[in-house]
């Protein structure tokens, strides 16, 4: 079974037309010694019925968010996705098209991406946005490389430890072989102290990277950070949470030169990590240094408004090794989803979503922090995510709560040894008061059992704990 339409007769007729006698002969250019003369050792073909049963069984071995209440965050969130988003993304003409190289046959996608770019500009308060990068982590790396091409003489990058650990790790990996010195600024109190930045920054500094709200959910002081950065002649790169912009000041307002983000929250499923999309916006003056595709407006020969891929001289297929980035395939369908999502919410919907997240998160924080042995680790305003310190082994606690039906949080010790006893809890607009109260009593009761020395289910050795630290 291979979705091939050629029947044996078709094949005979085609081989005859080509003038060869067998399919094998079509591969004559491949030296026999290099050919595989056995079947591939991959599982046998499954019919649609068998495949369907198999997938349902495998799905049954997962515990998705609809089955265990999800309080996990750390860069991916269980936000609600209106059905309209799926309906549009499910249109054949959108999801089975390739990159819009032929504008006459791709106006649907081109207009949608032009709308996407505009929406991201409106969201960030910046001048231009591209048509998506892979996701939030490589987005930070691309932003730093972009900064480097804007300020080629400078080589020092300052990044706050409160930036997503995996983003920092991605940046380190991307730049391993480049002449860049990356310095991580500690954030012991859950945010980057502007004075610490003042001390670290100098004339060699290319850019400063901060995340607001940061990995702990805490608010940074982006205005001060931006000012300090600009005073040193460096560029300020802000990593943001798109949903938070329903309430918070926009990167363009607090002085970001380049703003990047993980766009998953905008109508994309969590899907165990991807596909998501990277958002990148910046000031007009830097547009020709931008990575990724750009859609521009123009007119056809009859003066009819239309859209095309433009400024392609930045891109690899024209510029090759001198391109601003190597990106080719991007995250088009996710950008379409984000476009429908933002249009569906509108200003009011985005505001209310952000508000619900904040209020519910603070309600959860208050209730949880009232439990004995549990306290808020950071005394700092936060958006939809907060850090709890507990007097128990976090992995055991998480595993115990999973058995009670809760994905209760993330073990921060994984990335921050000093936060070994901490977990990060995220609350979206989907969470109900009942679910939050449920988490609170589940945690309370688990702790009691612990203290009374009757541990809940022991956490099966969770290898995530051996995780490397970003």
């Amino acid at each position: 079974m291979s979705y091939v339409l050629n029947t044996p007769e078709d094949q005979r007729a085609m081989l005859a037309a080509i003038g060869v006698s067998s399919l094998e002969e079509l591969f004559s250019k491949i030296p026999p010694s290099l050919r595989l003369n056995r079947p591939l050792q991959v599982p046998e073909s499954l019919s649609e019925i068998e495949l369907t049963t198999h997938v349902y069984q495998l799905a049954g071995r997962n515990r998705p968010a609809y089955d265990a209440v999800c309080f996990l965050g750390g860069g991916a969130y269980d936000h609600f996705i209106p059905a309209a988003v799926d309906a549009i993304a499910g249109r054949s003409e959108f999801y089975t098209a390739y990159t819009p190289y032929q504008p006459e046959a791709s106006q649907g996608s081109l207009q949608a991406f032009f709308e996407f770019q505009t929406l991201i500009c409106q969201l960030t308060g910046l001048d231009v946005a591209n048509a998506s990068l892979y996701e939030g982590g490589s987005g930070v790396a691309e932003a730093v490389l972009m900064a480097l091409s804007i300020r080629p003489k400078r080589h020092k990058v300052l990044i706050a430890e409160s930036v997503h650990p995996e983003y920092r790790q991605t940046l380190a990996t991307y730049t391993a072989n480049l002449e860049l010195h990356i310095q991580t600024l500690p954030t012991p109190d859950g945010f980057l102290d502007p004075d610490a930045l003042k001390k670290a920054i100098d004339g060699q500094t290319l850019c400063v990277v901060a995340q607001h709200p940061n990995f702990f959910g805490c608010l940074e002081d982006p205005e001060s950070l931006a000012k300090i950065t600009h005073d040193a002649g460096a560029l300020f790169i802000a990593s943001f949470d798109p949903i938070s912009l329903g309430l918070l000041k926009r990167p363009g307002q607090y002085g970001a030169d380049i703003a990047v983000a993980e766009g998953q929250s905008l109508g994309n499923t969590m899907s165990y990590g991807g596909p998501y999309l990277g958002l990148l916006a910046c000031r007009e003056e830097y547009v020709r240094k931008m990575p990724g595709r750009l859609v521009g407006e123009t007119v056809d020969r009859n003066g009819r408004r239309c859209w095309v891929l433009t400024l392609q001289t930045r891109e690899q297929h024209i510029r090759r090794e001198k391109a601003t980035s190597n990106i080719c395939t991007n995250q088009g369908l996710m950008a379409l989803r984000a476009t429908v999502y933002l249009a569906a919410l509108g200003p009011q919907g985005l505001k209310e979503t952000a508000e619900l997240c904040t209020r519910k998160a603070h309600y959860a924080a208050e209730r949880l922090a009232q439990l004995p042995g549990v306290r808020l680790r950071f005394d700092r305003p936060f958006f939809k995510e907060f850090t709890l310190q507990v007097d128990a082994a976090v992995p055991d606690l998480l595993s115990g709560l999973l058995d009670k039906g809760y994905h209760a949080g993330l073990h921060l010790g994984r990335w921050y040894p000093e936060l070994e006893k901490c977990l990060s809890v995220a609350v979206t607009e989907k969470r109900t008061r009942a679910e939050i109260d449920g988490l609170v009593s589940a945690l309370a009761c688990w702790r009691e059992n612990m203290c009374n020395g009757m541990p809940g289910t022991q956490a099966r050795s969770n290898r995530m704990e051996q995780g490397i630290h970003g």
Binding site: L15, V42, Q169, I318
Partner: protein, 480 residues
């Protein structure tokens, strides 16, 4: 049929106080405690659109695209094959889409089993030893592999600064090499469209880290010198990278590892039919030889007595090239595809992809110049040079005119080594009837009047856009 309703820009459809998505009332007492200094005066000035208009807007826009589900789409190098509907149903099962990337291994054993199986399958198809599913697309796969190579040589204490790349290579190859911090050296193609061995030898020394080859190459030719080439590089202690964009030609027929490649990427969104989504998403897993495995990004999926787990404990790893596991949604579709095809089906794919391409070639080669040979693999590159010279008909003119027949244009002006290139890849999922109709159109077009072709397309609602204007005075966003 006129499908113009609500197709102005979203911002032009916007009407104060309209909206689509409404939220529940807040069910907790807590008030919003954020400091005023952090808040914007008002939310972003997004458009305000009602649900009926929103749906009509996007549904009607969609009909302005060509796509696999509606048109033959022989876009060379892109492997636009059928995207099975069962993949959409199964990959969108909430038991798969509703998983958080950081939830505990114990709570996603089903997902981990699939990813683990996919790692092994991709290693087998490559004839290599280790696989990372992390890269988001082919280009990121290239970058990742080159970073792996750099780490490998650093670990061996060797200092190699160069990546050699044939002039027929895709633009991402040199771009990725530069991004990874290497100097790029271009290697000529010979008359046969293959690697010019003398030029390669002349540029090959101990500075060489990696030779990136696309085989079958972008001309649709299998480089029969491949064994010699890989030996040459290995003798110099360098590594061979295979750009796997053309794997659709050789599944189960020959394996990169067997012909000497040490690293490669897959384009799951090509070979294994991840839908292209009008630009993405993709997935660009890489496979590498044993000695490179320690340097792969973390995590990999591993298996123990207790089940499957994400193995982060990889001291020599280059780290990661993105957050979270990878483009799982596309990886899932690739796995569904491979599980549907099985060993026999995978080979059938390549046999029929090559059959279809050669059949199309046989139908048009009398009329169109096809510089490189009688025979091809899964695609071939025709050349409009003669038409251009004699009648001013360009590859672009032909591509645009094809749209009128309901066919998407081939890839034009790539590879750069062929002037007026028309790169045609029919894939295995098209019928002989479709190939014949397409060949008839190609043949008819090159006989048409030149001025008529310069004005093509004629049947679409849009004529050719002014691309120069777009680049000269870029308008990259709507403004009030």
């Amino acid at each position: 049929m006129d499908k113009n309703q609500s197709t102005g820009l979203l911002f032009e459809l916007s009407h104060p106080a309209r909206r689509t998505h409404r939220l529940p009332k807040c069910d907790v007492p807590t008030e919003n405690p954020l400091p005023a200094s952090a808040l914007a005066e008002e939310p972003p000035p997004l458009p305000e659109v009602g649900e009926m208009d929103l749906i009509r807007h996007f549904v009607n826009l969609s009909t302005r695209n060509m796509s696999i589900d509606t048109n033959f789409y022989p876009l060379g190098s892109c492997t636009m094959k059928y995207n099975p509907k069962r993949h959409e149903r199964l990959a969108l099962h909430p038991g798969m889409t509703d998983l958080h990337p950081l939830q505990s291994d114990e709570s996603c054993q089903g997902m981990l089993e699939i990813l683990w199986e996919l790692q092994n399958i991709l290693a087998e198809i490559a004839g290599l030893d280790g696989v990372s599913l992390q890269p988001a697309a082919g280009a990121q796969g290239e970058l990742t592999a080159l970073l792996v190579a750099a780490a490998y040589f650093r670990d061996k204490g060797e200092n190699r600064s160069r990546v050699l790349i044939p002039d027929s290579a895709h633009g991402t190859n040199p771009a990725s090499a530069a991004l990874a911090g290497f100097d790029t050296v271009s290697v000529k193609s010979n008359k046969r469209g293959l690697v010019d061995l003398d030029d390669l030898r002349s540029k090959l020394d101990e500075r060489a880290a990696v030779f990136m080859i696309t085989n079958p190459n972008t001309l649709g030719l299998f480089d029969d010198q491949i064994a010699t080439i890989t030996d040459l590089l290995h003798q110099k202690g360098a590594l061979v990278y295979l750009d796997g964009a053309n794997m659709n030609a050789i599944l189960g027929v020959t394996r990169p590892g067997d012909f000497g490649a040490d690293m490669m990427h897959y384009n799951v969104h090509k070979t294994f039919t991840g839908p292209h989504g009008a630009g993405g998403p993709g997935a660009g897993p890489i496979a590498v030889r044993k000695q490179l495995v320690p340097f792969l990004p973390a995590p990999l999926v591993a298996r123990s007595g207790e089940g499957f787990y994400l193995d982060y404990d990889r001291p020599k790893s280059i780290g990661r090239v993105r957050s979270f596991f990878g483009n799982v949604g596309i990886l899932l579709r690739g796995w569904l595809y491979i599980r549907t095809l099985g060993p026999k089906g995978l080979r059938e794919v390549s046999e029929n992809a090559v059959l279809n391409a050669n059949y199309l070639l046989s139908r048009v080669k009398g009329v169109y110049e096809v510089p490189h040979g009688e025979r091809c693999m899964h695609e071939f590159v025709a050349c409009a040079r003669a038409f251009k010279r004699d009648r001013k008909i360009s590859a672009m003119d032909i591509g645009k005119r094809l749209l009128d027949f309901g066919f998407h244009a081939p890839t034009v002006y790539f590879p750069l080594v062929v002037p007026e290139a028309l790169m045609i890849e029919p894939t295995e999922t098209e019928s002989k009837e479709t190939l014949d109709a397409f060949a008839d159109a190609l043949i008819r077009i090159c006989g048409e009047d030149a001025d008529f072709l310069h004005e093509a397309p004629h049947e679409l609602s849009l004529s050719r856009p002014d691309e120069v204007k777009a680049a000269k005075e870029p308008v990259l966003r709507w403004k009030p």
